[in-house]
């Protein structure tokens, strides 16, 4: 290949990728511009790029009104809660599984691997039934009768902890394999107990994998619009993405309040935290995707 041809090819590649990037980012540009419109302006516009005639900013503020603040806060609480627990479980279980010898270890490992390929359809509806029949919660008696259990109960956003977390246990285990045992043995000789060995010796050396787990679970929990959507129908107890999901599914009905700019405004706000997480922890998120791909 001649040099001229190579440069033309490079230029063609850059232009092609630019077009692709525009296509990938177009819906975000569209919703940002759409949110700057008023409702009537938007429905009269009908263009590929809804450039506003008159700028309005109040659509972005819906998330900070009386209806918007509780779901926004719930999303933050839920994301922090699950990020914390996922990291903790991954570290404790991953460390013990990687380093300790005990009976039944193989069985646990098989359980971890099998749990990752169980189709979620097998647990979706039964979980719903179980949540509604859980004893002692939501007005249920010890038989799980009489009330509605965790349905429409905000606790449903915090209590369940399924085997999705075991993926991170597996990842932490794998990452422990590349760490020589000498450090822990030295620490033990120096009189470190289990907790000290873990927090002072292991964790500082495993920071990258911790970042992988934390960033991925934070992103996943924030974006999990479906769980709150399925279990909770009061906006106050729901999360922001689930609230947007309620608005988005009601858009399908041709009648009713089809306030697109409001939806876009809320969407723009709710995408900021995941976007920040992604931009700051991009390396780790991509590493997580690639390593679950390669090792899994």
């Amino acid at each position: 290949m001649s040099k001229a041809m190579r440069t033309t090819l490079k230029i063609v590649w850059v232009i092609g990728m630019m077009i692709l990037v525009l296509f990938m980012l177009y819906p975000f540009i569209y919703s940002f511009l759409g949110a700057l419109n008023t409702k009537t302006d938007f429905s009269n516009l009908g263009t590929l790029l809804p450039i506003p005639k008159k700028l309005v900013f109040r659509n972005f503020l819906y998330a900070f009104t009386k209806t918007g603040i509780p779901p926004l806060l719930n999303t933050f609480y839920r994301t922090s809660w699950y990020t914390f627990w996922n990291v903790l479980v991954a570290v404790l279980l991953g460390y013990v599984m990687a380093r300790y010898e005990f009976k039944g270890k193989k069985l646990f490992l098989v359980f971890i691997i099998c749990s990752q390929v169980v189709p979620s359809v097998l647990t979706m509806i039964p979980s719903f039934v179980m949540m509604s029949k859980i004893p002692f919660l939501g007005g249920n008696n010890w038989m799980g009768m009489g009330g509605h259990g965790l349905i429409n109960n905000p606790l449903v956003l915090y209590l369940p902890f399924g085997w999705g977390a075991l993926l991170w246990v597996f990842l932490f285990m794998q990452s422990m394999k590349s760490l020589p045992k000498d450090f822990e043995e030295a620490a033990e000789i120096d009189g470190c107990n289990f907790r000290l060995t873990l927090t002072k010796v292991i964790l500082p050396m495993q920071k990258p994998i911790l970042a992988v787990i934390a960033a991925n679970t934070a992103l996943g929990t924030w974006n999990d619009w479906f769980t709150p959507f399925m279990y909770i129908n009061r906006i106050k107890d729901s999360t922001l993405p689930a609230y947007i999901g309620m608005l988005a599914t009601s858009l399908q009905e041709m009648s009713g309040d089809r306030d697109f700019p409001k939806l876009f405004g809320l969407s723009c706000v709710s995408i900021i935290p995941p976007l920040l997480i992604f931009l700051f922890f991009q390396k780790y998120i991509i590493q997580g995707i690639a390593s679950t791909g390669i090792k899994g």
Binding site: L48, V96, Y100, E101, I244
Partner: protein, 302 residues
């Protein structure tokens, strides 16, 4: 004396280790099992009952729900549609993400930017971005039809055409998931030893031959992973359908998983939802197993 003492210490140390391991692991496994393993068991039983989850106890009805499933055409059609619509989405995603990974595998200062950009659709929840598609596809004042009109083309009533709704579901699905798949492919591409390509260059192999004899065999594990996880994923795909088409026009883009969701969570027909879940789960496992067999058979022939 000393030897015996040492042996004792080793033994107790081992015991201590396993005791501690159980103390750490068992509570978590127990808790996780409550939320995951228990529903799995409940699900297997649910299909044999009639139960509305609101009041009363489940009533054992034997195979009635399964008879309804296979007796009425509705469910079979939905199951078949789940397979072909999911299959279309999966194939489109696998092929396009592979091409994208090839395009991203070129060294250039802008590569990082491109990689970030194609990933971004995935960091927004499906519910957040579907509104844009609904606004664009509005048959009367949606951006696309207005654009068609302005360049003198007939507007298309997307919502009344099965073809176009499937097409847009596919676009939305691929738009969201092409980035992560491309990243996984890219990881695979970059893990192939570069010296193989150099050797091929020296031997005068063309680019196409290099792809055929170095790249594709080198990506066998990655492609098996992408295909199998993708397969399990699309067999349960319904959020995309729910958000883009609601199963319309006239239920022609409805899929079994969406029906299960509506049966269970909207109309509280838990028995039927449970039976359909069991069947869809078994079909998924069966298809994944067959795919795995085919892939590993291909391995042996190589």
């Amino acid at each position: 004396m000393e030897v015996v003492g040492r042996q004792e210490r080793i033994l107790t140390r081992k015991q201590r280790q396993s005791r501690r391991a159980y103390a750490v692991i068992l509570p978590f496994f127990f808790y996780i099992s409550i939320w995951s393993l228990l529903p799995l068991v409940i699900g297997l039983l649910l299909g044999f009952t009639e139960f509305n989850a609101l009041n009363g106890l489940p009533k054992w009805v034997g195979l009635d729900n399964f008879k309804t499933f296979f007796g009425s055409k509705d469910y079979i059609i939905l199951l078949v549609r789940q397979v072909w619509m999911g299959g279309l989405c999966l194939i489109a995603n696998v092929v396009l993400s592979f091409l994208l990974a090839l395009a991203l595998n070129i060294k250039h200062p802008l590569r990082g930017f491109f990689r970030t950009s194609v990933y971004i659709p995935n960091i927004a929840a499906a519910a957040i971005t579907s509104g844009v598609f609904i606004a664009l596809l509005n048959p009367f004042n949606g951006g696309l039809n207005m654009f068609f009109k302005s360049i003198g083309m007939e507007p298309i009533i997307w919502n009344y055409s099965q073809f176009w709704m499937v097409f847009w579901i596919m676009i939305f699905f691929v738009w969201r998931s092409v980035g992560p798949a491309a990243i996984i492919w890219l990881g695979g591409l970059q893990s192939i030893d570069a010296s193989l390509y150099e050797a091929a260059n020296v031997d005068g192999a063309s680019k196409l031959q290099q792809v055929r004899y170095i790249t594709i065999p080198g990506l066998r594990f990655i492609s098996a992973y992408i295909l199998l996880t993708g397969l399990i994923g699309v067999m349960q795909m319904f959020d995309v359908v729910m958000l883009i088409s609601h199963g319309n026009p006239y239920g022609k883009t409805d899929v079994l998983m969406y029906r299960i969701y509506r049966d269970g969570v909207v109309s509280f027909n838990m028995g039927m939802a449970g039976a359909a879940s069991t069947i869809l789960g078994l079909v998924t496992v069966l298809i994944a197993f067959l795919a795995f067999k085919i892939i590993s058979k291909g391995d042996k022939n190589e």
